[in-house]
Symmetry: C2
Subunit: 300 residues, 2 copies
C-alpha cells in the first residue's frame, strides 16, 4: 500500500440528506474538496449518498432513482472527475439499474486518476421494518473481492455485510488492507433509549470485532439525521451517525458524533497492522479442515 511513513490519511464524510439529489451532490462535492485539501488520500462516503435512504417503504416509482452504471453513462462522472482533479481515491455507493426489474446496491471505487478501480455489489441484503431492501436490491453476484487501487487493496463491503464475519474474513484472505463499509443505519424513534444504545454499540462492536479477528483496520461511514417514512406507517428513521475508524486491534482511531454531520480526517498506520499480525497470527492457526460446514444454511 502506498504510504508516507506507512500512514494513510482517510476522510469519512457523514452527512444528512434531502430529496434534492442535485443539492446532496453539491454538498458532498464541497466536503470531498475540503477532505482532499486537508490531505486525505482516501475518501469514503456513506451508503446511497446521493439520495434519501429510500427503502423505508416499498414503492415501484422509487426505482426511478436508480442509475445506469455502465462505463460512460455519466451517473458517476462527478466522482470520477473529483478523484482525478484532486488526486484521491473515492469510495462511492450507488443505486444501480442493471436492467428493467434488476437493481443492485453498488459501491464503485474511483482511483486517483479518475478511472474506475473496481466495484462491488452488496451481497447480504436486509429486510426488516423500515429497511425493505430485499424489494429494491438483488443480492450481489460479483463475489466478495477487494478492489485494487493505487493505495492498495480495499475490502469494500456495504452496510448489512458488516454483520457477517464471513465477508470480512474473505476480504482479509484476499489481502485486503482496509475494510470499508458505507452504511445507512439508524433507530426507529419508537425504540426506548437503552435499546437504541445497545443497537448502536452492537453495530460498532461487531465491526471492531472484524478488525481484531483479521488484524485489519475498519472504516465505517454512516448517514446521520432524521428521514420521514413516506408511507407514514412509522415515525421514520433517525440515522445514528457514529462513523468510525478502528485499528487492527479494534482500537478506536476515530468516532464521529451520533447527531450531526462531520467530515473526519483520520490517519491509519499500516505498519502497525503488519506488527499486530505478527503478535496475534490468527491466520496461521485457522482450522480450515473444520470450516466446511460454514457453507451450510444450518446444521440440524
Amino acid at each position: 500500500m502506498k504510504k508516507e511513513n506507512s500512514t494513510i490519511k482517510v476522510a469519512l464524510i457523514q452527512q444528512s440528506k434531502t430529496a434534492d439529489i442535485a443539492a446532496n451532490r453539491r454538498r458532498l462535492e464541497e466536503e470531498i474538496r475540503k477532505a482532499a485539501a486537508g490531505g486525505a488520500a482516501l475518501i469514503v462516503n456513506q451508503e446511497l449518498h446521493d439520495s434519501l435512504y429510500f427503502c423505508q417503504n416499498e414503492d415501484v416509482d422509487t426505482f426511478d432513482l436508480a442509475c445506469d452504471l455502465t462505463e460512460g453513462s455519466g451517473a458517476t462522472e462527478l466522482y470520477s472527475r473529483l478523484a482525478r482533479e484532486l488526486g484521491v481515491v473515492i469510495v462511492t455507493s450507488m443505486f444501480e439499474r442493471r436492467a428493467a426489474g434488476l437493481y443492485h446496491n453498488t459501491a464503485i471505487v474511483f482511483d486517483s486518476d479518475g478511472s474506475e478501480a473496481g466495484r462491488y455489489r452488496k451481497t447480504h441484503i436486509p429486510d426488516d421494518p423500515g429497511f425493505y431492501e430485499k424489494f429494491y436490491f438483488t443480492p450481489g453476484d460479483m463475489g466478495i473481492k477487494p478492489v485494487r487501487t493505487s493505495l492498495g487493496l480495499l475490502g469494500v463491503l456495504v452496510c448489512w455485510d458488516q454483520w457477517y464475519p464471513e465477508a470480512a474474513r474473505l476480504m482479509a484472505l484476499q489481502g485486503a488492507e482496509l475494510l470499508i463499509y458505507p452504511t445507512a443505519i439508524g433507530w426507529q424513534d419508537t425504540d426506548p433509549e437503552d435499546e437504541k444504545q445497545r443497537q448502536r454499540e452492537a453495530w460498532i462492536t461487531v465491526q471492531r470485532g472484524h478488525a481484531v479477528a483479521n488484524g485489519i483496520p475498519v472504516i465505517a461511514v454512516n448517514r446521520v439525521g432524521h428521514e420521514d417514512d413516506p408511507s407514514g406507517a412509522s415515525d421514520g428513521i433517525t440515522f445514528w451517525g457514529s462513523s468510525f475508524v478502528a485499528g487492527p486491534q479494534g482500537e478506536f482511531l476515530h468516532l464521529s458524533p451520533a447527531d450531526r454531520e462531520e467530515t473526519a480526517l483520520v490517519d491509519i498506520d499500516l505498519h502497525r497492522c503488519e506488527n499486530v499480525r505478527r503478535w496475534w497470527p490468527f491466520l496461521r492457526d485457522r482450522r480450515i479442515d473444520l470450516y466446511g460446514p460454514l457453507t451450510r444454511r444450518y446444521l440440524d
Copy 2:
C-alpha cells in the same frame, strides 16, 4: 433450554492459582459450593483451573501434570461429584494425557446428575512467547460441536478459539444457546500500559462481536493474578481477569475486575435471544454460495 421465567443463572469463577494443585482444587470447590448456594445452575471455570498456566516455557517434565481423562480415571471425579451433589452443570478445563506424547487441552462438561455430558478438545492452538501451547497441546480432533446438557446446548470452546469467528458461527449453526470460553490470557509485564489496555479490549471486543454476529450470549472466564516464568526468560504473565458475560446484542451483562478474584453470579435471559434474532435475522441472509473459500488457508 431449561429455565425459570426463561432466565438462567450462571457462575463465573475467576481465580489465581499456585503450584499446589490440591489447594487449587480445594479453593475451587469452595467457590463452586458458594455459587450453587447462590442459585447458579451453570458454573463455568477458567482454563486449566487445577494448576498454574504451565505453558510459559517448554519443559518435558510438565507433561506430568496431564491426566488420563478416560471414564473412571478419577481425575475429574471431584467435579462430577460436585455437579451431582449440588445439582448444577459444571464446565471444567483439563490437561488431557491421551497417550504417551499425545496431549490435549480439553473441556469436560458435567451434567447436574454428575454424568459427563460431553467434552471438547481445543482446536485452535496458539504459540507465542509465554504461551508455548503448540508444544503441549495437539490440536483437537473432536470437531467443533456443542455439548447437550439438561440446561440446553452449550457451545464450549477454549481460549485461543475465542479469536475465531468461524468457531463461534459453527456452534451457532448447530443450535448452541450459549458460547462459553474458559480462558487464560494476560499481559507480559514489559508491555506498556496503553498496549495492555488495547489487548484486553480487543479480547473482550472480538468475543462480544461473536455474540452480536450470532445473536447468542457469550460467557468468558479468565484467570487473574501474576505467575512467574519458570525459565526466567521473561518477567512472567499477569492474567487480566475481566471475565464477562455479554448478551445477544453484545451488551455487557457482567464484567469482573482485572486485578482480583471474583465469583460472579449473572442472570441470562434466553427469551431475549429469541427476540434479538427476530429483529436481526443474520442467519437468514448468509451468502452460503460465497463462503466456500473460507476453507482455504489464503486466497492468493
